[in-house]
Symmetry: C2
Subunit: 410 residues, 2 copies
């Protein structure tokens, strides 16, 4: 691999590292041609160290497979992007993948202790290591996490693990408005409860699921938002917390509150979340998923913005997401081939990003910039900030051969 990098560097040929290719913003797409470097054969779990709560893995280990392997020995790797049965650790690291559990457990970044990586100039570097605290030199580990394959090719990952929580309980609360749902989250935090998952599904998603499945039990009529909550931990703790969860939801005006009493009931509560994607596919052929994020308390304002966009651009925009993090997936639905609708969708996306930044938010919480959002990056970052990022890029990749055309605006 070092030889390939050196050759591409010397010959100034684009070099695009590729994991499972499941990203939403096109980070693994060789948009300027060149060499695509598949990491598919670097697919081994090298070490699971129970004593030190860590794993050493190659980049092409499927995230869900790693989770299964560590859970088999009583450990836990929390990051859970929706793609976890297809995406790989290297891609999760390159994009800093999140998922529902991020509210309690944090995103991929919080679990990467160290990396081995090949620079576009051919050198192999090692960053961080097997310790949870390390302040020797610059934190290159966390500079590489989320760098979208533009700084180095990740060849080994040291991941922090935690003990697997002994039990889980799942609940669902229905609310007459998104604002009521967000109030419930605020009350929960005030009650010192940090759920392992806190997923909001809006009325437009619920209607789609109900119509797709032809059943309203998953998505009660007249509900503007449901919140799926999962607690995990010691039995005594979960029991104490679940009382507080119900109290907070009812105080915030929940019209219905359900608690799963069995694994099958738990799966049934989660089913609405899993059925969103197939249900939306029936509405329109193409779902453009924008993973914007705002400070949590401003989520109701974000939904007011989306409501305005729906009317102004005559679009269906079902939303769901990680409400505890303020990270909402705003899905603009379009019919492929409908040029007018696609144009309106692009205009709506621009408005969405500008509005998100006005709410002190960010245009991407999980999916990155890739090539899909390059033209919006300058909405969020100043020219001076982008310039210093370009100089960092040049410090790693003086000829700009590694994954060109990504992240930076032209």
């Amino acid at each position: 691999m070092q030889a390939i990098a050196r050759l591409c560097h010397e010959s100034r040929i684009p070099l695009v590292p590729r994991g499972a290719g499941t990203g939403y913003t096109g980070g693994a797409v060789p948009s300027q041609g060149g060499v695509v470097l598949s990491l598919a054969r670097l697919n081994r779990i090298l070490e699971i160290d129970e004593g030190n709560l860590l794993a050493v893995v190659e980049p092409h280990v499927i995230t869900g497979d790693l989770q299964d392997a560590v859970e088999a020995v009583g450990l836990f790797y929390p990051p859970d992007p929706a793609s976890l049965r297809r995406s790989v650790i290297g891609g999760n690291v390159a994009e800093c993948a999140g998922g529902p559990r991020a509210f309690k457990y944090g995103v991929t970044k919080q679990y990467v202790l160290g990396l081995e990586a090949v620079l576009p100039t051919g050198e192999c570097i090692r960053t961080g290591g097997k310790v949870v605290k390390n302040v020797v030199g610059y934190d290159l580990t966390h500079l590489l996490v989320g760098s979208e394959g533009t700084l180095a090719i990740i060849t080994k990952v040291i991941l922090r693990l935690i003990p697997k929580p002994p039990m889980q309980v799942t609940m669902r609360a229905s609310f007459p408005s998104v604002r009521h749902a967000v109030n419930a989250v605020t009350l929960l935090i005030r009650a010192r409860v940090i759920p392992a998952a806190l997923e909001l599904v809006d009325g437009e998603c619920l209607d789609a699921v109900a119509s797709y499945l032809d059943v309203r039990s998953l998505a009660p009529e007249g509900t503007a938002a449901i919140v799926l909550l999962e607690l995990d931990g010691l039995a005594e703790q979960v029991a104490a917390e679940s009382v507080r969860v119900e109290g907070a939801c009812r105080e915030a005006g929940a019209t219905e509150f359900l608690r799963a009493a069995s694994e099958s009931e738990r799966q049934e509560l989660w089913r609405v979340r899993r059925e969103i994607s197939p249900s939306l596919k029936v509405i329109s052929g193409l779902k453009i998923n924008h993973d914007v994020v705002v400070p949590k308390a401003r989520v109701p304002e974000l939904f007011e913005l989306v409501e305005r966009l729906r009317r102004q651009f005559r679009l269906r925009i079902p939303c769901f997401g990680h409400v505890g993090d303020g990270n909402i997936h705003v899905n603009i639905m379009v019919t492929p081939g409908d040029a007018d609708e696609i144009e309106r969708a692009h205009e709506a996306a621009g408005e969405l990003f500008r509005g998100t930044i006005a709410l002190e938010g960010s245009i991407s919480g999980e999916h990155g910039i890739g090539f899909a959002k390059t033209k919006y990056m300058a909405l969020e970052l100043s020219p001076e900030t982008i310039d210093v990022m370009r100089r960092v890029k040049a410090a790693f990749d003086p000829h700009g051969i590694l994954n060109p055309g990504k992240m930076f605006p032209e």
Copy 2:
């Protein structure tokens, strides 16, 4: 401030940002002369946002003052370096300060959401923001955290807060060896308990405290190690966990187990930790505190190494530290003016660092490199890794004016 940076950049004059100057490795010392930029007047808490669980502060806010301010409204800023009543947030960010609570809550890095900083070339940049997830561009925020004032001058910090845990309980367990103590920690983790603090104090520290205070109650005779444990959280959770803590300690062979029943008992258990520094000052005039870190399960091997160094170099080396993180403060005691002892202390430090790295550890978990450890940096990092760090430094500071002589070996 931007004008000062530009002037120094153009005139190639060293520029050294200075917070409270409490660091252990000399990061704030203008070792090559030049301009010292005091941040003392940037000392305001600008915002405490209860709804979004964040604070915006200037760099010269004393860490303990921020903690008091946020706790007054029911919130919590966990990082707790021993210097917290004197050190400031800007310095904590520049060094990535830790503290006892890091095992459960993480270090400073985990609480910095965004920064405003002035580059040595004069531009002002903003990184991150008010959201907990953000993958737009490179993570410059976490590159600047722990960069020891060599990349930029931090002028504003956005910090993540959490709700203040409603209750705490403190315990102390005594063990016949460090290995027994580490086994207790392993059993605790297996029992799914994550204490808020997990502090180990070795026999040599205990003897020093006992002789200083002339009382053995804090430091029972014949004890090779005590562990101070603190649990926090909801009352039901703390009650359930404390039963498991006692079980794990007794199973690991604790010879004594105490639980504080009141605030005064709690303060009495913590007193041994606070009395270590004054007690050691009586032994010798100078304590050289090396904050090495190893994978947790290798802490007993680290103590075997220290025992060997004590004999080989005829030195007193009391140790204490954050055992859950594998982060041990190895204090080499010397008499100022005793040239032979100082020479032996330097040799022992070199051996300590080499041995730590052989145990897959790091030479600094909390204090950084500054100028005190520059010659040891190459023990841990390869020339290729240091080279890329130098190129990152040049991307921010092409003339090398900002805090020169720090971090990098000559």
